[in-house]
Symmetry: C2
Subunit: 191 residues, 2 copies
DNA sequence: TCAAAAACATTCAGGCTGTATGGAAGCGAT
DNA sequence: ATCGCTTCCATACAGCCTGAATGTTTTTGA
C-alpha cells in the first residue's frame, strides 16, 4: 500500500519531522553534542533528506531558532494586547516573556547555543525581525524615558539583556523570584 | 646541543605555548571551528602534549577562560582602587570593565563561546571565583540600593548582564557610545 | 504516458577527537 | 654514577561525524 502524497505535503512533513527531532535533541544534549545521524534517526528519515532540505547542520539550527523566536514573539503579542497604561503593558510583556521562556529548552536554544552557533549579529537580526521593535516602543511610552533613536535602541538592548539574564536564572529549576521581582522594580523606576 | 630544562620548566612552557596558541585560534576562528591539530601546530608541539596536559579540548578551553577571567578581574581591581564616593567607584569599575573587554577576542571568549562550551553554571562559578563579589559590594554601597542577600545578588546579576551586553555591543568595531552612556545614566538613577 | 524535476537514500572522502602505545628525558635513592 | 621510576611528550590507531557526490524512487505536468 502506497499512500500518494503531494510533494508539498511530503516536503512539509519531513521538514517538520526534522525540525522536531532536532529541537528535542538540541535541547536535551546541545548543538555540538548532537550529530546529524541521531537527528535523522529520530525523525525517521536519512541524512540525505536532511541535506536536501537544509544546506548544513547550521542551517537546520537557524530554521529552528527562527521558528522559536517567532513563537516567543507571538506569545508576547498575544498577552500584552490589553494595555491600560505603559508601565503595566511593559510588565505584562515581561511576564509573558518569562513564561514563554519557560518552555523546556528555550533558554538553551535562544540564549546559550544560539549566539554561539549563529553569532551575535545573526541573533540580533532575528530579534529585530520578530519582537525587537515591541520592547523599544514599550519603553518609549514610559513617561520617564526621554531617549530616542540610538539611545532608545541602546536602552532597549540593555533592558533586553536583563530580561534574558532573568530568564537564564530561572532555568535549570532555579528560583526566578528574586530576578523577576528586582527587574520589575527597576522598570518601575524608569517610569 | 641539548638544553637541559627542568621538568617544571618544560611543563610550564608547553602549557603556556598551548594556551597562547589556543587563545589566538579560538578568538580568531571560534572554539568549534578550531581543531586540536591546528592548535598544536601553532604551539610547536604535538597532540600528545596537549592530551598530556589537558583531559580534552574542553579542559584546555576551561583553563583559558579561567585565566582570562582572572586577568579581567585584576584590571578592574587595579582601576577602581581610588574610590571617593560609591557611585564614581562603580562608574570607574564600569569603565575598567569595558576597556578590559576591548582586548581582542575577550568578548567572544567570555560572552559567546564560554557559556556555550562550559555552560552557564560553570561560567557563574568562574565569575563568582573572580570578580563576582566586587559588583555586589559596589552596588550595595549605593545610597539608593536597599537590597540585601538574594535580592542584592539578583540586582548584581541584572546589572552584570547590562555590562556584558554593552561590551558585546562595542565588539566588532561597533560604536559603544550609546550603550555605555545609557548604562551610566541608569546607574546614576540607582544612587 | 512519459520525460523532467523534486524528494529522498546510499556511498564516499576527508578530518577530527580521544585513547593506547611507545620512547626520551629528568628525578630520587643507593 | 647508575638504575628504577616517573614525568613529559610523540606516534599510531579506532571510531565518529560532516558534507558532497551519486543513485533511486516518487511526483508532476504536458
Amino acid at each position: 500500500m502506497q499512500e500518494r502524497r503531494s510533494n508539498a505535503d511530503r516536503r512539509q512533513e519531513t521538514r517538520a519531522a526534522l525540525l522536531s527531532a532536532a529541537r528535542a535533541l538540541f535541547t536535551e544534549t546541545g548543538y555540538a553534542e548532537t550529530g546529524t545521524p541521531e537527528i535523522v534517526a529520530r525523525a525517521g528519515v536519512t541524512r540525505g533528506a536532511l541535506y536536501h532540505h537544509f544546506a548544513d547542520k547550521r542551517a537546520l539550527f537557524l530554521a529552528l531558532i527562527e521558528a522559536e523566536a517567532q513563537a516567543i514573539a507571538a506569545s508576547i503579542d498575544a498577552a500584552s494586547l490589553d494595555a491600560t497604561d505603559p508601565l503595566t503593558a511593559l510588565r505584562q510583556g515581561a511576564r509573558a516573556y518569562f513564561t514563554a521562556m519557560q518552555v523546556p529548552g528555550r533558554v538553551r536554544l535562544m540564549l546559550i547555543d544560539g549566539p554561539s552557533v549563529l553569532g551575535p549579529d545573526e541573533m540580533r537580526r532575528i530579534d529585530a525581525d520578530t519582537g525587537g521593535a515591541t520592547l523599544r516602543e514599550g519603553l518609549a511610552a514610559l513617561p520617564g524615558v526621554t531617549a530616542t533613536g540610538e539611545d532608545l535602541a541602546a536602552l532597549a538592548d540593555l533592558v533586553s539583556a536583563m530580561f534574558d539574564r532573568a530568564a537564564l536564572a530561572s532555568a535549570g529549576g532555579n528560583d526566578a523570584g528574586p530576578h523577576a521581582a528586582m527587574l520589575d522594580s527597576l522598570l518601575a523606576r524608569l517610569a
